[in-house]
Amino acid sequence: MDERQGPDPGRPGLAQQRKKRRGLVGKAIALAVVSVGALFILAPVFWMLSTSLKTLDQTLAFPPVWIPPSLQFKNYPDALSVLPFGTFARNSAIVTLTVLVGEVLTNSFVAYGFARLRGPGRRWIFMVLLSTMLIPFPVLVIPQYLLFKNLGWIDTFLPLIVPPWFGSAFLIFLVRQFYMTIPRELDEAAEIDGCGYFSIYFRIIMPLAKPALASVAIFSFTYNWNDYLAPLIYLDSPSNFTLPLGLASFLGRPGTVIPWHQLMAASLVTVLPCVLLFFFAQRFFIQGIVVSGVKG
């Protein structure tokens, strides 16, 4: 690269070497810091896994046992049979996936309008959109609850599924922020080539915005999979419970001792799809994020 441009053309290697060595030391320190941080982050997860494989007695040992002497895999079937976790998982999957498809489609579509098209009152409408993001869910939840009650939707998935298909201000804002970083020259070039707005959106903006759409998908999935307040309010019968509600009802069961080993097993099973999705989608996610530096 720039190796030939050293200040002293007679000894090109020396300054370069010193710089390189300092770089190596810096990297070693950074690596150490990052590793220690990773230990702190992983400890709770490992603790969850470890607890889920203990006997109840071992969970109450002090100092704590990190690796149980005998792994109690039966905690998993035990925990999952205490409550109908299979049903909870199916319910969570139905709600989450239906919402995810809607949120990716609608929000990227609406965001294009706000990012690129000038219409009468756009600034004003965008302010309204932003302010809806500020509306605490509780302001809406009472009248929405009464609305859905009138429609006979209480204790069904509809109150959880239908509203997200009309877009969410949070995600529209997120995608719009991303669209704003895509140079306008690309749109203009496509327009000169005779593209209409739909084809600019589908052919230029959407492909460049894959990382933003991937983050919408991931946010949508993890948010809805883990959502607690809305299902708590709208779902009544245990056969309609999503996983978080199931987990909460596990905790709330009357009894003297909390079965930590089973509770951790159930928690792990609850979080597993999110973790798997993340591992599976991560490469595309981060690689896509890098693309955001649109060079062209």
């Binding site: 579509f109 609406v110 809806t132 302001v139 609305l147 298909w165 306008r184 946010f219 607690y228 981060i286």
Partner: protein, 310 residues
């Protein structure tokens, strides 16, 4: 139509009219949702805030009585205090943590992809499962936190969630564990900052701290604004931790605003959706004012690469 004749000379759909039409086509799903699920309910909510309503009998009009009652409601003030304290602690600390992590994970060091995965992992498992996990970690007798404090630092750890003094800091600590999603956003922002800028600044002799404040921060300022606003909003709506871990206790030390609101509207022994609606409106006003202040100030410190600037 009659204007087809004139279309040849001066089209009805001028360029800007066409653009305006398509603007509304693109945003129409949101407009519909806004009218049905937001505007209607909001108006209704304001009406309910002027009533007392136990759902079983029709709402009774009270005027501003609910708002007046709130001013002398100790629980209301306590819940506001708890929520504000939590926000003031968790949001700035969260941003600092997430940005620090993102800067570290943006370095070219070995296994970086692996570390990014690990740092993000906790955010994937938010909600009830994390509350349950931390309930166990923070357990004063058998949890790993006090074990770690005792073993490595020889400190007798506090009672955490069982202590009036430590319950809220416990939840702040817990929130720092899951800042991964803003970290990912910062990382995306950092990678969107053109490397030419850094190279040019280095050639001009700018050292790392200067490069951070003059290139990195402006470069990721849209993301900072986004995470600051959403962080405040989310923190003002904290509910799950209070519901799962503490039930607002001990002695109302974690009695979050939305937890009180939920109790009033859905969970308590006496239900008053009117009173709860009044609480919701006050929350809305607080969050709204804070955000407007941030958005107005953002003109001074947020930069967009593709923005239309005249």
């Amino acid at each position: 139509m009659a204007h087809t004749a004139s279309l040849a000379r001066r089209p009805f759909l001028t360029r800007s009219r066409k653009e305006g039409l398509f603007f509304f086509i693109f945003i129409s799903p949101w407009i519909l949702g806004f009218l049905i699920f937001l505007a209607g309910p909001i108006i209704a909510s304001f009406y309910f805030s002027l009533t007392t309503y136990d759902v079983l009998s029709p709402p009774q009009f009270l005027g501003l009585q609910n708002y007046q009652d709130l001013t002398s409601d100790d629980l209301f003030w306590q819940s506001l205090r708890v929520t504000t304290t939590y926000t003031l602690l968790s949001v700035p600390l969260g941003i600092a943590f997430a940005l620090g992590m993102a800067l570290l994970l943006n370095l070219k060091i070995p296994f970086i992809a692996f570390f990014r995965t690990i740092y993000y992992l906790p955010s994937v498992i938010s909600g009830v499962a994390v509350s349950v996990l931390w309930l166990w970690i923070l357990n004063p007798a058998f949890g790993i936190l006090n074990w770690g404090l005792g073993t490595f630092l020889h400190i007798q750890g506090p009672q955490w969630l069982f202590s009036e003094q430590w319950a809220l800091p416990s939840l702040v600590l817990m929130s720092l564990w899951s800042v991964g999603s803003s970290m990912i956003l910062y990382l995306a922002g950092l990678q969107g900052v053109p490397t030419e800028l850094y190279e040019a600044a280095s050639l001009d002799g700018a050292h790392a701290v200067r490069r951070f404040w003059h290139i990195t921060v402006p470069g990721i300022s849209p993301v900072l604004l986004f995470t600051l606003i959403t962080g405040i909003i989310a923190s003002f709506q904290t509910f799950t931790q209070a519901s799962i871990m503490t039930q607002g206790g001990p002695h109302y030390a974690t009695f979050f605003y939305v937890y009180y609101l939920w109790q009033t509207a859905f969970g308590g022994s006496t239900i008053d959706m009117g009173y709860a609606s009044a609480m919701a409106w006050i929350l809305f006003v607080i969050v709204f004012v804070l955000t407007i202040i941030l958005l107005v100030s953002s003109r001074l410190w947020v930069f967009y690469e593709g923005a239309e600037r005249g």
